[in-house]
């Protein structure tokens, strides 16, 4: 009964979505307030209906209802409750419901937080989001129904893949989807602006916080995916340039470019058409990601079970939504005004150079991901494009971007002078160079790549210090604390986010440059040394889990005779599908991770064990977290706070400082 309620809720939601996607947009075109007013209640109604459907599916999982096909395929009577609930998004159909649920959350957020927007704009934004949800609901109701029944009901479920039975499964997909789906808001803003012809700096100002929040979620989502792979997969890897990983990285790159481009559009009214195009691109990449994961077109560890029918549906949806948006763009964008002018050497110029680099990087990742498909489609053979390609290509493109990151914030708007900038930054450059050469030399191993990575990281930090000093000198407020408080939060957000990037680079450079590993056979009582630590194997014992049995090893770790920690790597066998899984033991630390995984049991109670010493690896994900915090800080800036928006507009929205004359 409950699954049927969920099913009907989705059907109703589809009806509401169709209404939401049509009436408000039409109403905005003809100026009918009544029709435009349909948008808000429709969005909120959809949220309630999708929430109901989501809860129904959750209920089916909670009570182990194996008469629902999806539950039988991804759950098991011995699966603990929290994983049963996480299994809601464990496979294709349920993850679509999660997508839809998160879309409805964003829609309801827009409906509540858009009082300052003109009526027509809000109607169009919610209308566009409604159209997107029509696509997803239709997809679910036609070929991917999570509520499909299994008659007769299965006696036992097939179980959630053991790799997914992990806290990471509870948080990573929702975070990631919040990001993916969040870009639909920026997309909706862009389409609304194109439809209405009101493409100006105000539009950029309204779009920015939504874009930034989506970007924050995306950053956390991708970082979590990487961190989860690191501790779950058992061999310490954290990024493989796998097609599905790339599918999440590309929208992130586009989102980063979009945030920076919107800064130019907001401040100087320039490059509006480009910002709109980026917003369309970011969401298109989200949809493309959805396609790549579910269509079977590319091989990936992360891919859902594939079905060409589903692939075709998503492709048609993709073609309609993105094709339509790009046609609208080609039609309306040429009429958009140009905004203020600026020189190539200026803050705007550097922000746009950043955009060029990010989009080139994005294009390269897309090229590498789809290239095997291109060649195969043209019958030119089968190739593989993997980490060696991406690493070779990505680094040269990102290096100038990081370098610019140091100069951009110091450059003046409209016109800056390179020689003047060079003088201001010479100290920062010197310090970075010296540190970049000294540190690896002190640590005993020097390669050009290590120095390059450290140079970039220290450059970012040093330039932040220079910029901060200059601004504090100029700020009003008396004491240092007062002056710091006088600087807007958006600035601190930028500082924090850029610091996050520097931390990330340090992490990647140090791990790749200095990590060590050892594969040993360990009898009980034997020791191995790695990275200054001594690991002693104390044998294994059997441990019973809720749905698995495991051999748990005990490893005593000491340094210079002092005991540091005890680690418990496991080799688990899950009952449902008789799958074996390695659960690595990690001892995290600020300056290093120790990573131990069990290999195979050998004679006499011995085991083959793999030991890793990974310096600074947690700075990778720490850096990403700091980046996201920077974004949150930027969004909490005074100008976006609700109290700032006044009901009576004393300043007409279209007032501009310099009126452009188009000749």
């Amino acid at each position: 009964m409950i699954p049927e309620i969920g099913h009907y809720a989705l059907i109703l939601a589809l009806c509401v979505a169709v209404v939401q996607g049509s009436l408000p947009i039409y109403g905005a075109a003809v100026g009918s307030s009544a029709l435009m007013a349909v948008a808000k209640p429709a969005a909120r109604g959809q949220f309630l209906l999708v929430l109901l459907a989501f809860c129904c599916l959750g209920y089916a999982f909670a009570v182990k209802d194996f008469s629902v096909l999806y539950v039988a395929a991804t759950s098991n009577s011995q699966l603990p409750l929290h994983y049963r609930l996480a299994a809601i998004w464990g496979a294709h159909e349920g993850s679509l419901l999660l997508w839809m649920f998160i879309l409805s959350i964003w829609m309801v957020a827009v409906s509540f937080l858009s009082t300052h927007l003109p009526e027509a704009m809000r109607a169009r934004i919610l209308g566009v989001m409604g159209l997107v949800s029509v696509g997803f609901l239709l997809f679910m109701l036609t070929v991917s129904n999570p509520f499909e029944r299994l008659i007769p009901a299965a006696l036992e479920g097939r179980d959630l893949n053991p790799l997914l039975q992990d806290p990471g499964m509870v948080i990573h997909p929702p975070m990631l989807y919040m990001g993916y789906v969040g870009f639909s808001v920026a997309f909706a803003f862009a389409i609304a602006a194109l439809l209405g012809g009101t493409l100006d700096a105000a539009w950029a100002r309204w779009s920015r916080p939504w874009t930034t929040v989506a970007w924050c979620f995306m950053t956390v989502g991708v970082a979590m995916g990487s961190g989860w792979a690191y501790y779950e997969l058992g061999w310490g890897g954290w990024w493989f340039w796998d097609p599905v990983e790339n599918a999440s990285f590309m929208p992130w790159l586009a989102g980063t470019a979009l945030m920076h481009s919107l800064a130019v559009t907001d401040k100087r009214g320039g490059f509006k058409a480009w910002s709109v195009l980026l917003a369309i691109m970011a969401f298109s990449l989200s949809l493309l990601g959805t396609f790549l994961v579910r269509s079977g077109v590319l091989t990936s560890v992360h891919a859902f079970a594939t079905d060409p029918k589903r692939g075709l549906f998503i492709l048609i949806f993709l073609a309609v939504v993105i094709g339509g948006s790009l046609v609208l763009y080609a039609w309306r964008a040429p009429r958009v005004g140009l905004g203020g002018s600026f020189a190539l050497i200026s803050r705007e110029g550097m922000l746009l150079a950043n955009n060029v680099l990010l989009v080139a990087a994005l294009g390269s990742v897309l090229l590498g991901t789809l290239y095997p498909l291109f060649l195969d489609a043209l019958d030119l053979g089968k190739i593989s494009v993997g980490p060696p390609y991406f690493d070779t290509v990505f680094l040269p493109l990102m290096t100038p971007a990081i370098f610019l990151m140091g100069i951009g914030p110091l450059a003046q708007w409209k016109q800056a002078s390179l020689p003047a900038l060079a003088i201001r930054l010479r100290w920062a450059f010197g310090v970075s160079l010296v540190t970049a050469v000294a540190v690896p030399w002190l640590m005993g191993q020097w390669t050009p790549l290590i120095s390059l990575g450290l140079l970039l990281a220290f450059w970012v930090l040093a330039t932040i210090v220079v910029d901060l000093r200059e601004r504090l000198v100029q700020a009003e407020g008396g004491s240092i604390g007062g002056r710091m408080a006088a600087l807007p939060r958006a600035y601190w957000g930028m500082v924090l986010a850029h610091c996050g990037v520097a931390l990330f680079i340090v992490g990647v450079t140090m791990v790749k440059g200095f990590e060590v590993e050892q594969d040993v056979r360990m009898n009980v009582g034997e020791t191995a040394t790695l990275g200054g630590y001594t690991f002693r194997f104390d044998g294994t014992q059997q441990v019973n889990g809720p749905n698995y049995v495991a051999a748990r090893g005990t490893i005593q770790v000491s340094q210079d005779g002092r005991e540091v920690t005890v680690m418990y790597p496991e080799k688990r066998r899950y009952f449902a599908q008789n799958q074996t899984m390695t659960e690595a033991a990690i001892s995290p630390g600020l300056l290093r991770d120790l990573y131990v995984s069990l290999g195979e049991p050998l004679e006499g109670g011995a085991w083959s064990v793999r030991l890793y010493h990974k310096p600074f690896i947690d700075w990778i994900w720490g850096g990403c977290l700091v980046m996201a915090l920077g974004g949150v800080l930027a969004v909490s800036d005074r100008r976006y706070r609700l109290a700032w928006r006044r009901k009576e507009a004393a300043v007409p929205a279209t007032a501009q400082m310099a009126r452009p004359i188009v000749s």
């Binding site: 290239y371 494009v385 056979r521």
Partner: protein, 148 residues
Amino acid sequence: MLMLLLPSPATAYEAQPLAANPQAEARLKALAVELRCLVCQNQTLADSNAPLAEDLRREVREMIAKDMSDKEIIDFLVTRYGDFVLYRPPWKLTTTVLWLGPFLLLGAGATGLVFALRRRQKKVTDVTLSEAEHSRVEKLLSEGVHRP
């Protein structure tokens, strides 16, 4: 005398490396991380536990023991399985777009940016503000700063 024959309880035995020949194993690892496991869902030969992957690692180990060069080992695998087995796409006519693409993209983007800025500078001229407009600007800006 007997004491010398008994193992000292304080001695910790050093664990032996898993591989018989650690240098060869290191070379195997360096090769295997760039080779693809053919039956897996996108994994390297180094990381996979599939039977075919183990067989191929065994073959590569034997080739290393026979003192074959890296190029010879890679040729051996490519002859049998094609370029698909390499994660680093080889330089060929069909992969020139792949390898040059990113830099062409960058070039195109940079050129596009420079042209767009030049075009903009020709079309847009700033208008100076009148006295009244100037004082209005001052008023608006000062209002903003003092808001609580």
